[in-house]
């Protein structure tokens, strides 16, 4: 799982059943100040779905969408597990860092 996919997955988990293309994109932009485009998000979502980390269903339509339904993504248990694994690995690696780096970051 790439770094961007990890972020997308985290956002999907965060939005709890409300996650779809547009609001995921906006959320990422707001939180990370990255320049993200819709198509990147869509592509990642597809990859995640292929990997089985999210599942999707067609959700309700709104007027803003010209009456079109949105695809709502929810994280799967496997996805959650994968996130936890990554975090655990990171934590573990961080704890083993020699102090200069920790300090450097703190500065």
């Amino acid at each position: 799982m790439g770094e961007f996919e990890e972020i997308v997955l985290l956002v999907v988990a965060m939005l709890e059943g409300e996650a779809y293309g547009v609001n995921i994109t906006h959320e990422i932009i707001e939180q990370t100040f990255r320049k993200v485009r819709l198509n990147q998000v869509h592509a990642s979502l597809h990859r995640l779905e292929d990997k089985g980390m999210v599942i999707s269903r067609m959700g309700g339509a709104t007027k803003a969408r010209g009456g079109r339904r949105k695809r709502i993504f929810t994280i799967t248990a496997y996805g959650r597990q994968a996130l936890h694994d990554i975090q655990a690995i990171r934590n573990k690696l961080w704890q083993q860092q020699p102090s200069p780096i920790t300090h450097a970051i703190q500065i």
């Binding site: 779809y20 293309g21 547009v22 994109t25 906006h26 485009r37 819709l38 198509n39 869509h42 592509a43 597809h46 990859r47 067609m58 339509a61 709104t62 803003a64 969408r65 010209g66 079109r68 339904r69 949105k70 695809r71």
Partner: protein, 888 residues
């Protein structure tokens, strides 16, 4: 402006682009997201930026995941055993159910195909001419281009005067072939070639062996000839066949004189009772693909020694290259090869190479370069063939489309049950391919039956090449293509129908479909019109040429060559022959009077001529006997004719009007004129008469009396109805006076017709093809009329009930078609006028393209259309209206 819209929307084209490329199962979410984003951006940055952003987003989504289509869950097999059996059965039933339509459809296409096949066979056989040699791409004919007076002329044979060969002294002769071979090492073989039978001096040559006498036509050629060309030698030595005073003869000729070809070798044949030639080889009879024709070949050495007569004073020079790639080198070396012999002269001569196998098809010269010839006719007829097939295809398509109305319900049901579009396409295409193959079988049958007739008209020997794989694969391909093209419209159109609407009965042709069908009818009519008009024109021109008053009476004329003992004993012959019963007049001429080819510039001088003549048209000097005017029934304009009672007339001249004009004389009578070293006074002016084919204008003629010439023809006019008697008498005298030559004669009017062989053939062929095109178009029209009546049955019945008369209904139905006919007529007239004018330019004497040629063709087509419409319409106009209205 767009920004001020109350509800700005994303750019339409971008949305369409998205819709086009995006996989359908993803479209909804992506479109929704993009639109939501657009609304968001609009609020944030204004509509202008939002639109830009939208466009970028659409472009950015062009990524594999969005492009990739979802796989269908169900396998998409188009081919299925049971289904194809079902389709076959249905196609069969459809053919049977609509017998009239099927017959029209199949026979129309079959005629078109048959026509195409015949034309293809003909074109193919013409193209194969001269292609049977071992190295067709190494063989070339050397042609010349002469630049003089700012004009470029040229020809396939090089005039002897330009090659400055020395006739008397063979050993020191300049001979183009030998010199070329010596000077240009890239040339492997080279051979001169000229026939002994071409006009103006050529004639069948008499050979004698023992008691056997035969007249045969043949040629002269160099030693290398058999090495270059693939004329297999069956007896004797190929290498030495044309060395020394030798002759090579065909198998047929060998069998005429000897028991077998093998017996002929080493034997001696006597040529024209003056020269003995040793038979060096016997070659196989020439294949029909050979454009050179000869029964014998006399060695060039024997020819140059002087006793063998030449037929024409310009000769072919054939060369064979050692390597195909050397062509450009040889071309550059050969270009100015002859000019060094003609330095300081007013003209410039260049030589060029024409591939040997193109000589036959490209024999015309324009600006001194080979251009066109027979190939033009091939192209025209190929075009005609393609057009006729096109018409047939259009008909096929039209009929199939019209009939598809009846099949629309079937399509609706099929679609409802679950047939996919591709299955329907396959069904309909398959059906039309099947029908087209049925047509092919019929077409082959027609061709097989018709080929003998065609061969008789064109003098060809075409056969269906049943054992030729290429032919069959081409035919299959063509038929398949025809079937696919013809079936494509109905197949694609029908399969696109919406089942619900069709089943509800709301099926209609779109305006564009009706329009395109009408367009096709117009196209058909245009082709038919074109063919009819050209047929009429060609036929009229041919008839015009045959019936034009030539200025002399060509009936009952026969001519016999002056040869052997006839040369010294012409006087006795004339005396005795004129006493025979059945002979009206007898005289002689240096050339056959209907086709004089001899033409010269320089040796003609006349009173008042300043320095050199600068005429552009060569004179035609001819020598005749005293009674020529009476014999030919020529008219005098001025002065008097030659008279036997005035012996001084042997040094007198007569000229024709054209010659007077060209010489610029005011009072020609009594003025002197000279030809070579003969000088004399003009005693009379002849009214212009035709001395060659009507392709060429009348030439200036100069006539004098020479009754002792060693060549020429004796021309005899027989009394009408007594030809046989006269011929018997002549033969008897000939045999007595000239025993070493067989008696041979020609009818002048037959020979005259032969000049126009090509035109006659064209006229006959275009008759046939125009007929075919009309039949096919009529079949198509018939089908359309039937269909349109079928469609309008109820309307017609209602009209009848409301009081329409039969003529009302007939008028109503024919109106539509007559409009189409008139449109196509208007389109065709300028087109036909242009093409026909081009064709007529080839003739110096030609018919006018009068309005009634167009009128006749227009009237004929209108009449045919009306007849077809009426026959069909009558049935429905007479029918009881209740019958068709009852069903609802």
């Amino acid at each position: 402006m767009k920004d001020n819209q109350p509800f700005p929307t994303p750019p339409r084209w971008a949305s369409r682009l998205l819709k086009w490329y995006c996989a359908p199962h993803l479209l909804e979410e992506i479109q929704g997201d993009l639109e939501e984003e657009f609304e968001y951006q609009k609020k944030l940055n204004g509509p202008k930026k939002a639109r830009l952003d939208y466009i970028f987003n659409v472009l950015r989504f062009m990524r594999p995941f969005a492009l990739k289509r979802k796989q269908n869950q169900y396998p998409k097999t188009v081919y299925h055993m049971n289904m194809s059996r079902h389709y076959l059965l249905l196609a069969y039933r459809n053919v049977l159910r609509e017998k009239a339509f099927s017959i029209i459809n199949i026979s129309g296409l079959a005629l078109g195909l048959a026509c195409c096949i015949v034309i293809w066979l003909w074109v193919d056989s013409e193209r194969k001419t001269d292609n049977f040699h071992n190295y067709p791409d190494k063989l070339y004919n050397v042609y010349y281009t002469l630049h003089a007076n700012g004009l470029a002329t040229g020809g396939q044979t090089i005039p002897r005067g330009l090659t400055i060969s020395n006739y008397k002294d063979y050993k020191n002769t300049f001979l183009l072939a030998d010199d070329l071979k010596e000077a240009i090492p890239e040339i492997q073989y080279a051979s001169m070639y000229t026939t002994g039978y071409e006009l103006p001096w050529g004639h069948p040559v008499t050979f004698r062996h023992g008691e056997k006498l035969h007249k045969l036509e043949g040629s002269m050629a160099d030693e290398d000839f058999f090495k270059m060309f693939n004329y297999p030698v069956i007896a004797g030595n190929k290498q030495k066949a044309l060395q020394g005073k030798s002759i090579a003869i065909s198998r047929k000729m060998a069998n005429m004189f000897f028991n077998s070809p093998g017996d002929a070798i080493g034997e001696i044949l006597r040529y024209e009772n003056k020269l003995d030639l040793i038979i060096g080889a016997v070659f196989e009879d020439l294949p029909k693909e050979s454009s050179l024709t000869f029964e014998y070949l006399i060695s060039w050495e024997a020819f140059m020694a002087g006793d063998v007569e030449e037929a024409i004073s310009s000769w072919h020079t054939f060369i064979q290259l050692g390597n195909v790639k050397d062509r450009p080198v040889v071309e550059s070396k050969i270009k100015d090869f002859l000019s060094k012999y003609h330095e300081g002269k007013e003209f410039k001569i260049e030589l060029g190479l024409q591939p040997f196998n193109q000589m036959y098809l490209y024999s015309n010269f324009e600006n001194g370069k080979p251009s066109g010839g027979r190939i033009d006719y091939l192209n025209i007829f190929s075009g005609v063939g393609i057009f006729i097939l096109l018409i047939a295809c259009i008909n096929f398509m039209n009929l199939a489309t019209s009939r598809s109305v009846k099949r629309a319900k079937e399509v609706g049901v099929r679609k409802t049950i679950g047939s996919s579009r591709s299955q329907l396409v396959v069904q309909f295409l398959g059906e039309s391919v099947m029908l087209s193959f049925l047509s092919l079988v019929l077409a082959l049958l027609i061709v097989q039956l018709y080929l003998p007739v065609f061969n008789a008209t064109t003098g060809k020997q075409l056969l269906l090449p049943v054992d030729d794989l290429y032919f069959w694969s081409l035919l299959t391909g063509l038929t398949l293509l025809t079937g696919l093209v013809a079936g494509s419209y109905p197949a694609l159109f029908l399969s696109s129908l919406d089942p619900v609407r069709v089943l509800k009965g709301a099926f209609r042709f779109r305006k564009s479909a009706i329009f395109s069908r009408k367009g096709m009818v117009v196209l058909q009519y245009v082709v038919s019109f074109l063919l009819i008009i050209s047929t009429i024109t060609v036929t009229l021109q041919t008839r015009f040429m045959q019936n034009t008053n030539l200025g002399y009476d060509r009936e009952n004329l026969i001519y016999i060559r002056v040869e052997g003992e006839l040369i010294p004993k012409y006087g006795i012959f004339r005396q005795r022959a004129s006493e025979l019963s059945g002979i009206a007049a007898i005289d002689r001429s240096s050339e056959p009077p209907h086709q004089m080819k001899f033409a010269v510039y320089a040796p003609i001088k006349w009173e008042g001529l300043e320095s050199e003549s600068n005429t552009t048209v060569p004179f035609q000097p001819t020598s005749v006997g005293f009674d020529f005017l009476k014999l030919m029934k020529l008219e005098l304009v001025e002065g008097r004719g030659f008279s036997r009672s005035n012996p001084a007339d042997t040094s007198a001249f007569m000229v024709n009007e054209k010659a007077v004009k060209q010489m610029g004389m005011k009072d020609p009578i009594g003025k002197w004129i000279s030809a070579w070293d003969k000088k004399g006074k003009i005693i009379g002016v002849l009214k212009d008469y035709h001395t060659k084919s009507l392709h060429q204008p009348i030439a200036p003629i100069i006539v004098d009396v020479k009754e002792d010439l060693f060549f020429g023809d004796i021309v005899v006019r027989t009394e009408p109805g007594k030809t046989k008697e006269a011929l018997e008498g002549l033969e008897e005298i000939c045999r007595e006076i000239n025993p070493d030559y067989p008696f041979a004669y020609k009818f002048l009017d037959h020979e005259f017709e032969k000049i126009y062989h090509t035109e006659q053939m064209t006229a006959r062929l275009s008759n046939i093809f125009a007929g075919l095109a009309i039949i096919i178009s009529c079949l198509g029209l018939l089908g359309l009329v039937m269909f349109s009546i079928e469609q309008r049955r109820k309307e017609l019945s209602l009209r009848k009930i409301l009081g329409a008369t039969i003529s009302n209904i007939l008028g109503l139905l024919s109106k539509d078609f007559l409009i189409l006919v008139s449109i196509s007529f208007v389109v065709t007239v300028p087109l036909a006028g242009y093409f026909m004018n081009e064709w007529l330019q080839k003739f110096a004497y030609r018919i006018e393209l009068t309005w009634w040629i167009y009128a006749i063709s227009g009237l004929a087509v209108v009449l045919l259309t009306v007849i077809i419409v009426f026959i069909q319409a009558f049935k429905s106009a007479l029918a009881n209206p209740v019958k068709y209205l009852r069903s609802e």
